[in-house]
Amino acid sequence: MNNILLLEDLPEIRTWLKVLINQVFPQSQIHEAARVHDALELVSAVKFNLALCDLGLPDGSGVDVVAALRESQPECQSVVVTIHDDDDHLFPALQAGAFGYLLKEQARELIAEQLKRMSQGEPPLSPSIARRVISHFAAQTRQQERPQNMPHVALTDRENEVLLRVAKGFTLPEIGVQLNLSRHTIADYVKQIYRKLNVSSRAEAALEAQRLGLFRRN
């Protein structure tokens, strides 16, 4: 972890997070930003390995930075750090390409633990997020007017199985036991689910943009 982007507008929290990141990734260089505008400038200048983005910022939403990173630096892991725990806020960030989320008020040790797991490829997945993902893909499947060149992103049966169980309230370790799968395999499924969510969301966004363009032309 060489370059880490830290996007946070509250100075105290930023300082606190910086200390925390330094503990988890001692060798890293942290680039701080308090505004979306500054973060985007950093993104165009620096190649990041990890980005911690707050959502509610004075000049916009951290989702834009997540999307920009996803676009220009696909190998960078974006994690949303937020005070909002509701999926109305989290889901758009996940669609934009975030790999996981941290709730700011959690204890230092807990955040450090989660951050470590995420960097190792074990993103979290709550039941409500799982339900949103399920309904997202269900809506995608229903769309008939998908253009031919649009990639059709579908979940595998295993991925679906994992999603359904998460949605029912089972924890990832429990599902691992139920499906007789290792902790890493389950984590891979979840990563795949996030990745596909991002891809299909971008396809959807492109389709939407195309549609709006058509309307404007008429």
Binding site: L10, E12, I83, K104, E105, R108, S126, S128, G169, T171
Partner: protein, 666 residues
């Protein structure tokens, strides 16, 4: 017959012609095959009454009943002492000089000039001799009764002029429909050998439009003044007053119908009918208006001409009433209107009768044809109208046929103006029907208006309902937006500050409190903004959180909830409160119980939802007052349950673990 033998020697000139009107003779006269029904007035009245009554006119029935009452006693008394004179000496006269230059010749009364002096147009003097009728009191006032004299008469008794019916020169007073009753002054009257001269002004048949206007003189009756006057009065009623009454009736009716037609443009037949009635009422003026300011030729021409528009209106009425319309027929009728007067003018006054009679046939045929057409259409499409109109039109046909028969001298002339009384009565019948139809249409319109109103009310209610829904939605949207704004503000301001406290406070206790406050805030916001969620989803969220927390605390979690899908919804507030209760319970287990195992059970029924959390820890210690320790947040858990109309029960004892039972209504 002794009386009759006594009477005979007193009559000088026409002993064979004067007969005593005994009751048996009167009866015989009614049934006798006399060529002239003029001598048969009662029979004629009954006959016409029977016909007209076919028109089902209640009005006429009433009048008839009245007439019967009126006539019956008169007839009985008239039998007593009235002599009927059926012959006279007659000669044409050019001036007042009696008999003029021609010698008088005997004539039989009634005397129709068309038979006795064809084409003669002018004055004729009739002379009869009579004695005072026997059986009459010597001082009884006598009178002369003439059923019909056309057009006018002056009466002389023993050389003295005692009566004049009006003007004897053009324009001649038209008395054809007026029975005459002339009082014979006692001073001029002798016991025997009275000479009665009648100077009659008449028009040749050829110069009039209908046979009723042709010159003639009926039988003469001499008898007590009271009897004669009464008889003539009742005859006047039928031949004049009845016509006037029905004319006024249909005149008024016509105006009403015209008004109706003017108001409802679609129903043109009202207008046609109105004008038809009005025209007929005007035409019947000829019957009772004696002193018209024109001479005979003009009046007769106008009268005959009037038939063209009347027939046109009748035709148009029937067609329009049958919902038919033909430009062709309309044009033909208009043409006829012009053609009829033109032919009459071309023919001249001396050919009026012949031309008029021919036209009558043409007009009658037209009328019959349209009636047949109407009845056919009516039978096909409007059966409810058929029978009523069949009766009326049938009666009208009979009237027209009788009138034509009279005109062509197939039947003797009736004393009554049949057509002038009968047609208005039939028009009244049709009007009744029209008004009935109109009333029904009005009712139907009223009903449809009510239906429309009801529909408008429904539509209005629907619009109002939709509007209310829209307004409600709008209110919801605004509320939602406002709640989101409050939530955002809470997160941005309060949340940020609490967060800062969490991560900057030196004291672990304060940062824990701040963290809890933040969680509380978050739940409150969710309760504020959240939508109802599926109970199954809520259970999944609770399970994930509970199992995660317990496992992180190394406590074995055993969560069992119904596996079948339920669609029941949980309000956001209930979700939030239950989350708090459950969170508190789990926190208690982790912090205080020292348990190694935790069992959670869920039960869902239609009405309620139950959650049981049981641990195998050391239990909650009792306080002095016998209640469970408040430090464990038991009171707030109970309070929250109460807020949701549910309850939260706790059972605990040292060494027995704790059971928390939460029950919520759905």
């Amino acid at each position: 017959m002794k009386g009759a033998e006594d009477l005979q020697p007193h009559i000088h000139l026409n002993r064979h012609c004067i007969k005593r009107t005994d009751p048996p003779d009167e009866g015989g006269a009614q049934s006798a095959p006399m060529s002239n029904p003029m001598s048969n007035p009662m029979g004629m009245q009954k006959h016409s009454a029977t016909r007209i009554s076919r028109g089902a006119a209640a009005l006429l029935l009433v009048v008839l009943a009245w007439a019967a009452v009126l006539l019956a006693p008169a007839t009985a008394r008239a039998a007593a002492a009235v002599v009927t004179i059926t012959s006279a000496q007659a000669a044409q006269a050019t001036n007042d000089q009696f008999l003029g230059e021609q010698a008088p010749v005997p004539v039989t009364l009634p005397d129709d000039w068309s038979d006795s002096r064809p084409r003669f147009d002018g004055l004729v003097r009739y002379r009869v001799q009579f004695d005072r009728p026997p059986g009459v009191e010597p001082n009884e006032l006598l009178a002369l009764g003439i059923d019909r004299v056309c057009s006018n008469v002056e009466v002389f008794l023993n050389g003295q002029r005692i009566y004049s019916g009006g003007r004897m020169t053009e324009p001649v007073t038209r008395n054809c429909h007026y029975p005459q009753a002339v009082t014979l002054p006692s001073a001029l009257l002798q016991e025997r050998g009275n000479t009665l001269d009648l100077l009659v002004r008449g028009h040749a048949l050829q110069r009039v439009a209908t046979r009723q206007q042709a010159a003639g003189l009926s039988e003469l009756r001499i008898g007590p003044q009271a009897l004669i006057a009464e008889r003539q009065a009742s005859r006047t009623f039928w031949s004049v007053s009845a016509v006037q009454i029905v004319a006024i009736l249909i005149g008024v009716l016509g105006i009403v119908m015209i008004a109706l037609g003017w108001m409802s443009r679609q129903a043109a037949y009202f207008s046609y009918f109105g004008w038809l009635s009005l025209a007929w009422a005007l035409m019947s003026l000829r019957v009772w208006w004696r002193d018209m300011p024109w001479d005979n030729g003009v009046i007769e021409f106008l009268f005959c001409t009037a038939f063209a528009p009347i027939v046109a209106l009748a035709v148009q009425f029937l067609l329009s009433y049958a919902d038919l319309r033909s430009r062709w027929i309309e044009n033909a009728l208009a043409l006829q209107w012009v053609l009829l007067p033109v032919t009459l003018l071309l023919g001249g006054p001396s050919r009026l009768f012949g031309l008029a009679s021919a036209w009558y046939v043409v007009l009658a045929i037209e009328t019959f044809a349209v009636m047949a057409l109407y009845l056919w259409v009516s039978w096909r499409h409007r059966r409810h109208d058929f029978w009523w109109m069949l009766a009326i039109l049938g009666a009208a046909c009979v009237l027209v046929v009788v009138e034509l028969a009279v005109q062509y001298d197939v039947a003797g002339p009736p004393l009554l103006p049949l057509l002038q009384v009968g047609v208005p009565v039939l028009l009244l019948g049709i009007a009744t029907r029209l008004l009935q139809v109109f009333a029904r249409a009005l009712q139907a319109a009223e009903a449809s208006r009510n239906t429309l109103e009801a529909r408008v009310r429904e539509a209005t209610a629907e619009v109002e309902h939709n509007f209310a829904q829209l307004a409600e939605m709008r209110v919801e949207q605004v509320t939602e937006k406002e709640r989101k704004r409050i939530a955002a503000d809470l997160h941005d301001d309060l949340g940020a500050k609490l967060l800062t406290i969490v991560h900057t406070s030196e004291s672990e206790r304060i940062s824990t409190l701040a963290r809890e406050a933040l969680e509380e805030m978050r739940l409150s916001v969710r309760g504020l903004t959240g939508k109802p969620m599926r109970l199954a989803d809520a259970l999944a969220d609770w399970r994930a959180e509970t199992v995660l927390r317990l496992s992180q605390a190394n406590i074995e979690a055993d969560w069992r909830s119904p596996t079948e899908e339920t669609e029941q919804l949980l309000p956001a507030r209930s979700f939030v409160q239950t989350t708090r209760i459950l969170r508190e319970a789990v926190s208690n287990i982790i912090k205080h119980s020292g348990a190694s195992h935790c069992k959670v059970r869920c039960a869902i029924s239609d009405r309620q939802f139950g959650l049981t959390v049981q641990d195998n820890g050391k239990g909650i210690p009792m306080e002095l007052d016998g209640k469970l320790d408040r430090g464990h947040g038991m009171a707030s858990m109970k309070h929250r349950a109460k807020q949701m109309q549910g309850q939260c029960l706790m059972e605990s004892g040292p060494g027995y673990g704790t059971v928390i039972r939460l029950t919520l209504p759905l």
